[in-house]
Structure formats: structure tokens, C-alpha cells
């Protein structure tokens, strides 16, 4: 700068103009379209990867393992006993143990379970693993939980338990110890029950135009966000129809078949009334219970053609239960009555008052041992399949397909979820009148006798 003269030389004017242009360039480079903060953030998020990293960035490597829990015992939602061995008719509560958990912290709205015990979650930020002996194996607390929301049902496989927060956080814990394996987030609100699907967790998340089925790798925790959007209403429930190669979603009065590889809609059918629970899949046939007190059969092989509708007097309390071999359905209604339906024709064979006053409203089917087939004049062809249902207060009952009540078994509390099916045993989570949760081990009469005998031996 020439201090001797105040007149600005042309090259300084030129340099100043060039500088002004550079300033304008910087300005538009910094925020080219003068975005608002949120728009800018989302624009800058493009290509951002660190926020998608798992915690820790490199989780401990574990072997892939199969799921050990499905709602209603399997992904076809048939509620049939997953144990192959037939059962005795007589069960007795061998022991029950109250769960040592502060009542205000535990909400067993969502209960899942496998041979290791129960996993509970609900409208508190806590999720817990409860062993078969009723002791708390581990607890996990999310930082917070929005009002009115609940932690989704804990998903479990052989090694891990997956906790899913309604705002998209996913926590994978060592199922046995509760140690964190990895934490990640799908960064958007979860709008329907997540499921385990092959190697991934499928987390239905809110997206700008519908729902995105975001896959999270169960081993690495990596989020795959490439799945397309689906035009589905939030709150849908999924079932798997292997013979159709499809996942079946139900929401309101719609039944929708989805291609799980491309996540595209294959077909959909609209029923006249809202559907209760997920559809039950048996081969290519789908069974749905509607709030208009009907059970509907839909032919999945014919793009959702409705074959029949069966009247069950009162609205259903849950989805129907499938009885294999005899091809029948059973279902509890809101009055606590049990209906038995022919799955082929839709004929309602009988309706009896099970007087169910328990939080559990699902029935399940299991096979009885051969000696009972003869004893209760059941058909050998149908392999002893019977209907098991919560009944009265704090009990469950076993019915033959001919409506005969075989037995009624008392529990220490009201069952809140389908029991965990163990070999020759049932494991129940119940809620007592004293507002305690208890775990009950139901053993066959013969096994209890054997245990008692063994206990008495040393004394003698």
C-alpha cells in the first residue's frame, strides 16, 4: 500500500475487486442456497457415515445363530407347540418364584421367551432377562422413553438379545450376561414390530413416504438403508408364508403380501372389517380374525381370494390357533369363550365357555401322548393334537377337538404370555393379585413324582 498517496492505484482496485469476488464465492460455497439449518443438516448428512457406525465400531465377532423365539411360537404365527415330543395331560406347578424387580420399573407388556427364560419390555425404559428360576439375569435401561411409547418385544437368537427402542435405537446384548455387543440406530421412528429375518433384524421405520424396512445385520450391527419405501400404514404385523415366498402384513382391514427380497407388494386384499393380530399361515392358506366376530380364510395362492368367513359370535381376542394334521382352528373371543373351526370349510364345530379372565388371550395347540388318544376317544389319524387355552382365573385348560375338557391346571398368577415350551415342561410368566410377576415351572405329574421320590431317597 502506498502511504504517500491517497489515490488508489488501479492494481489495488483490481485486487480489491478480486478479493470481493472471492468473498462472494466463499459465501455461496458455505451455504449455496441459503438453506435453513435443518435442510442444510440433511444435505450435509449425505455421505455422512460416522453416525451410522456401530458402538463399538468393530463389534466382537460372534457366530451366526438361529432365532429362538417367535411370537406365537413360529413365524407362521400358528401357535403350535414347537416341541416335537407329545405331552402328558396332567401338569402341576412344581415351583414358582416372584421376580425381584421394582414394580414401577417393570412393565411386562411385551414378553418373549426361550429356553433361557423370559425377556420383558414395555412402557418403562427398562428391559430385563429373567431366568427360568425367576432371578433377574440382567437389566438394561434406555436413557428415556417418549410418553405413550413402549420398548418393542425383545428379539432373541441363540447368542444375543436385541432391544429396540421406538425412536430407532437398537442394542444387541449378550443373551446370557447382558454385556453390550453393539449399539446402533436406524435414526428414525420404528412404526411396527421388528422381526428377525435371515441374517438381519428387519426394523420397519418411518420414512418420508411410507415405511422403510431397514435391515440391521445381527452379527455386525451394520445398518442397510437401501431397502425401498413401502406404502404401508404403521402398526402392521408380519407373518411368514414360506410356500408363497412372501411375508404377509396385516394392518387395519388389509392383508398385504410382500416380496421379502425386493420389498415390493405382491398383492393385497381389503377385508370388510379390521383384523385382530397377525394372519396365521398354513401352507398357502391364510387365516385372519376380524373384529366383526369372523374368522376369514384367504387363499394366498390366488392373490388373496377370500374362500370363506366363519361367524364366532363375539369379536376375537387374538388370532386363531392352527391344529396341524386335523386342519382346524381354535380361537378365544372377548367373552372368554373358545370356538373350534374347520379350517377347510369354515364350519364352526363348537363353542364352549372357557371363562378366560387372564391377560393371555392366545390359545395354543400341542400333542398329547398316545395313551390319551385312546382314553379320550380321539382320532389316531390326527396324532393327538389338542387345544390348550388360558381359562377361568389363573388357570389353563386342555380341550380335545371334540370339545371335551380334559383338564384344568392352576397357576399362581394370571398368565400374561404364551408359555415357553420346554421338553415336557411349560414355563409361565404370570401376574399375581398382589401385583407381582412370578415365573412358574409346570412339570408333568410323573416328573414331579420322580423328583419327590428322589428327594425322599436320601432321607430314607
Amino acid at each position: 500500500m502506498d502511504y504517500e498517496s491517497r489515490k488508489v492505484k488501479w492494481y489495488w482496485v483490481f485486487a480489491f475487486c478480486a478479493y470481493c469476488v472471492a468473498v462472494a464465492y466463499l459465501l455461496f460455497k458455505g451455504n449455496p442456497l441459503l438453506y435453513s439449518k435443518l435442510d442444510l443438516r440433511s444435505s450435509l448428512d449425505q455421505g455422512e457415515f460416522v453416525h451410522r457406525q456401530t458402538i463399538p465400531a468393530h463389534p466382537e465377532e460372534i457366530a451366526e445363530s438361529a432365532p429362538t423365539f417367535y411370537q406365537r411360537y413360529n413365524f407362521q404365527r400358528t401357535a403350535t407347540d414347537p416341541q416335537n415330543s407329545p405331552r402328558a395331560k396332567g401338569y402341576e406347578e412344581y415351583e414358582h418364584k416372584a421376580i425381584d424387580f421394582e414394580a414401577e420399573n417393570l412393565d411386562a407388556q411385551n414378553v418373549t421367551g426361550d429356553a433361557s427364560g423370559f425377556f420383558v419390555s414395555g412402557k418403562t425404559p427398562w428391559a430385563a432377562a429373567i431366568s427360568a428360576d425367576g432371578s433377574i439375569r440382567w437389566k438394561y435401561r434406555f436413557k428415556d422413553l417418549p410418553a405413550g411409547k413402549a420398548i418393542y418385544p425383545v428379539l432373541v437368537d441363540e447368542n444375543s438379545a436385541y432391544l429396540i427402542h421406538p425412536m430407532g435405537d437398537v442394542v444387541c446384548l449378550n443373551k446370557a450376561t447382558g454385556e453390550i455387543r453393539w449399539v446402533n440406530s436406524v435414526k428414525s421412528e420404528v412404526v411396527a414390530d421388528p422381526v428377525i429375518w435371515k441374517k438381519a433384524l428387519i426394523i420397519p421405520s418411518k420414512s418420508s413416504n411410507g415405511v422403510q424396512m431397514i435391515g440391521v445385520d445381527r452379527v455386525t450391527g451394520h445398518v442397510d438403508e437401501d431397502s425401498p419405501n413401502l406404502d404401508l400404514k404403521p402398526g402392521f404385523l408380519l407373518s411368514h408364508a414360506p410356500e408363497l415366498g412372501a411375508l404377509i402384513a396385516t394392518v387395519d382391514n388389509n392383508v398385504i403380501a410382500l416380496d421379502p427380497t425386493e420389498w415390493q407388494m405382491l398383492w393385497s386384499v381389503t377385508l370388510t372389517d379390521p383384523i385382530k393380530g397377525p394372519v396365521v399361515v398354513a401352507g398357502t392358506q391364510l387365516y385372519a380374525a376380524t373384529l366383526a366376530a369372523k374368522v376369514v380364510k384367504i387363499d394366498g395362492a390366488k392373490k388373496g381370494k377370500v374362500d370363506w368367513e366363519a361367524e364366532i359370535v363375539k369379536p376375537p381376542a387374538s388370532s386363531p390357533t392352527y391344529l396341524p394334521a386335523m386342519n382346524r382352528l381354535s380361537i378365544l373371543d372377548t367373552s372368554g369363550a373358545l370356538s373350534h373351526i374347520d379350517a377347510k370349510s369354515g364350519k364352526v364345530y363348537w363353542r364352549v365357555a372357557a371363562e378366560n379372565r387372564n391377560p393371555l388371550t392366545d390359545t395354543w395347540s400341542a400333542r398329547l401322548k398316545s395313551k390319551y388318544i385312546e382314553e379320550y376317544s380321539m382320532d389316531w389319524l390326527h396324532k393327538g393334537w389338542t387345544i390348550w387355552t388360558p381359562c377361568y382365573d389363573s388357570s389353563f385348560c386342555v380341550f380335545t377337538p371334540k370339545s371335551g375338557l380334559i383338564t384344568r391346571i392352576k397357576l399362581s398368577g394370571r398368565p400374561v404370555a404364551l408359555p415357553v415350551a420346554l421338553d415336557h415342561r411349560w414355563l409361565f410368566l404370570s401376574h399375581t393379585k398382589g401385583s407381582e410377576y412370578v415365573v412358574s415351572q409346570m412339570l408333568e405329574d410323573a416328573e414331579i413324582k420322580q423328583i419327590k421320590a428322589e428327594k425322599e431317597k436320601p432321607a430314607n
Binding site: M1, F16, L34, V50, I55, P56, K139, R141, G178, E179
Partner: protein
């Protein structure tokens, strides 16, 4: 002492530099008031006991003064600053005033450098200007360039996405978003172009730049940016006096001296070069962990509007449970340090001790901290540690200690 004598001679010969000395003393007083307002910040940090070190230091406990000595320095600082301001502005005792200012400056350095949490753009500006004023020759030429550099650097810092969203204006004024965004853009233009215009001797350029900056900082003072706006208005007063003096000098040739010729600008140039190297460093792709970057970071202004975003997830590990928790800061953080990993480290270490006392089942804290820096346009994971309560864990190790290699018991 010769260097001090030369500097005092320069100040004595220039009324505007004498006034600038008084203004700098007033700036020190303002800094004292700001620190006092923050609860006697230097004393509070000294009492806390865990100093926060600058990134290039392995340990800074040697900088940490005892609490009583810090308090003595702190209150003495205000007295020397007031005396220096009164003497340099109201009397002709330049030498006495200069030495008083030098002592106040020394005290300020002692207080400022003991803990990184004392760091602020305003404090940096005052100390940098004071250094140049007290110790670097050829101040007549350098001070204006330094002031222009600060305005331009501020504009450069604002020409980033975080400032240009207008969030700072939206936070301080009830404005529609678009107006806030345009104000942010105008702010960049005023600082960068108005600041550069102060270098021109042509009255049209000079006055346009000076007036635009003056009005801008008056508006900022009104909005609520007290300290920064006062400093800017103060130096603008000096620039105006300097300009008038130069015009007078051109008429009277009062600067022609054969005994003490015009000092060399080498030192002033080096000083300015250091300043600009530091300001440009965030735009260079220097490795995050490099020593050069660590050194230059010390001299870099904090980003404007501090919209750096960070995410920390902390898990409290107990014997039979895991809880995701928030860690409360041990001390309130300045906005510019909200996402500072070292502060987070100190907070976590403090929380470890507290939680161990509270609950016998407590085992450790696991924590992950990632920072989103708009300038870099992506986040980086500052640390990911499974056992934060390990007794041998030091901040310098955080980048090495990975989750999987540092297991919680």
C-alpha cells in the same frame, strides 16, 4: 530492556498508539469483568484441580497455579488494568502506563494459559493485540493490519455453513429464518470487505468500510454480543484516530527521525503470518492428529456461532445391569467448547468417582463420543472406550484405547 525502550519510544511519538494502549487496558478490564461474571473463572478452575491442557501439551499441571496465588493474580490484574487505562488515557506518563499495562498483560497470560477452558476469541484477541502492542516493533503499520486481519478472519470464520444458517441471529432475535440467513450473509460481507477496506487511504473506501463495521458492531452490541462488539468498536476508534494522525503526519512529516528511523516490519510481518497460518489451517487438509495442526489450533479463532454438533453415548455398567445415561458437565462449558473431547473426558472421570461412591454395584462407564464439525463436513469418533474408570487411563491414550481392547470387568 532495549526492546521495551524502543516500543515505548514508538508509543510516545504517536497519540493514537497511546490511546490504543489505554483501550487495550480497558479491554483487559472488560475481560476481568467477563471472568468475574462467570464466577471468577480462573479461581474456580484452579479450585477444581483438574486442568484442561492444550492439545500440544503432554501435561499442564506445571501451569496450574495454587488457588490463593490465582486469586491474587486475578484481583491484581484488575487493579493494574484500571491504573494502566487511567494513566494512558488521561495523563502523559506513557512509560509508567506502558509498564502497568505490561504487568497486567503478564498476569492475564498467567491466568489465561493455566487452563484451556479460559480460552475465548475475545481473550485471544486481547492478548494477541497486547503482545503486538507491547513487544513487536513497527506497531504503527502492524496494528492496523492486525486489526484488519481480525475482522477478515472473523468474516472468513463466518463464511461457513454453521454461521450462514442464521442460527445465531435466530437465537438472539425473533426473526423469520430467511431474514436471519441474510443477516448472516451480510455479516460475512461486512467483516471481510469492510475490514479489508480499512487498509485503503482513499477516504471513500476507508469511510465506507469503517462506517459499515461501526454500524454492524453497534447492532451486535444492541443484540447482546457485549464483549466482542465492545472490542471491535474500541479498535475502530483507534483505526479512526490512526487515520487522522497519518493524514496529519503526511502534512507535517513528524515521523522523519534520523536518531530512530522507522523500525523494521520483519517481526510484525512474522506475527501476522503466524496469525494467518492459524486461521487458514482449518481449511487445509492437515491430519487431525498432526503436531502442526495441534500447534496452529492454539492460534486459531474459535468457529463462529459454534454449531459444532456432537453425540455422546455413555453406558453405566453395574454388576447386574446396564443403564444408558447422560453425563452432567462438571463445569458449564462455553459454546465453543461444548464438543471438546478433553472436557468430556474430564466429565467422565469425575462421574466415575461420583458413581463409585454412590453405588457399590457400579463397575465402570463405557462411552463413545463423536463430533460433527461443519467445516469438515463429516464426524469423527473422538473416543470409544469400554472401561473409562480404569485408573491408568489418560486423555492422550483415548485414541488408542478401543472398546474391544479395554474390557469392562
Amino acid at each position: 530492556m532495549e526492546i521495551l525502550k524502543a516500543n515505548i519510544w514508538e508509543v510516545k511519538k504517536s497519540g493514537s498508539l497511546k490511546t490504543l494502549g489505554g483501550l487495550l487496558a480497558l479491554f483487559h478490564l472488560m475481560l476481568f469483568i467477563y471472568w468475574s461474571h462467570e464466577g471468577s473463572l480462573p479461581v474456580k478452575l484452579a479450585a477444581q484441580g483438574q486442568p484442561m491442557c492444550r492439545s500440544f501439551m503432554e501435561s499442564c499441571s506445571w501451569l496450574h497455579l495454587p488457588v490463593a496465588l490465582t486469586a491474587l493474580f486475578f484481583y491484581s490484574y484488575s487493579i493494574f488494568a484500571v491504573l494502566a487505562a487511567v494513566i494512558l488515557i488521561l495523563t502523559d506518563w506513557v512509560t509508567f502506563g506502558f509498564y502497568l499495562l505490561l504487568i497486567a498483560f503478564g498476569l492475564a497470560l498467567g491466568l489465561y494459559f493455566q487452563d484451556l477452558r479460559m480460552s475465548s476469541n475475545e481473550g485471544y484477541f486481547i492478548l494477541f493485540m497486547s503482545t503486538a502492542y507491547l513487544l513487536v516493533p513497527s506497531k504503527h503499520r502492524m496494528m492496523r493490519r492486525l486489526i484488519v486481519s481480525f475482522f477478515v478472519a472473523r468474516g472468513l470464520s463466518q463464511a461457513a455453513a454453521d454461521w450462514l444458517t442464521g442460527a445465531w441471529y435466530s437465537d438472539h432475535l425473533l426473526l423469520p429464518v430467511k431474514i436471519a440467513e441474510w443477516l448472516a450473509a451480510i455479516s460475512v460481507l461486512v467483516n471481510m470487505i469492510g475490514g479489508a477496506a480499512l487498509l485503503f487511504r482513499d477516504g471513500r473506501y476507508f469511510m465506507t468500510g469503517w462506517l459499515s463495521l461501526f454500524l454492524y458492531y453497534c447492532a451486535h452490541l444492541y443484540i447482546g454480543e457485549f464483549l466482542g462488539a465492545c472490542l471491535a468498536l474500541g479498535v475502530l476508534v483507534y483505526v479512526a484516530l490512526d487515520e487522522m494522525e497519518l493524514r496529519k503526519a503526511e502534512r507535517e512529516y513528524i515521523y522523519q527521525s534520523f536518531i530512530r528511523p522507522e523500525p523494521s516490519f520483519v517481526w510484525g510481518g512474522a506475527f501476522l503470518a503466524l496469525f494467518w497460518a492459524a486461521q487458514i489451517s482449518p481449511f487445509l487438509s492437515l491430519p487431525r492428529e498432526s503436531a502442526l495442526r495441534g500447534f496452529l489450533n492454539v492460534w486459531t479463532l474459535h468457529p463462529e456461532a459454534a454449531h459444532e454438533e456432537c453425540e455422546q453415548r455413555t453406558f453405566a455398567i453395574y454388576k447386574n445391569r446396564v443403564e444408558e445415561i447422560d453425563i452432567e458437565p462438571q463445569l458449564s462449558r462455553q459454546p465453543a467448547m461444548y464438543c471438546n473431547p478433553y472436557l468430556r473426558y474430564l466429565d467422565l472421570r469425575g462421574a466415575c468417582q461420583e458413581m463409585k461412591k454412590k453405588d457399590s454395584d457400579f463397575v465402570t462407564l463405557s462411552s463413545v463420543f463423536q463430533v460433527r464439525n461443519f467445516r469438515e463436513k463429516s464426524s469423527y469418533r473422538a473416543f470409544e472406550v469400554k472401561d473409562f474408570c480404569a485408573s491408568d487411563l489418560a486423555f492422550k491414550q483415548l485414541s488408542e484405547v478401543q472398546w474391544t481392547t479395554n474390557r469392562a470387568k
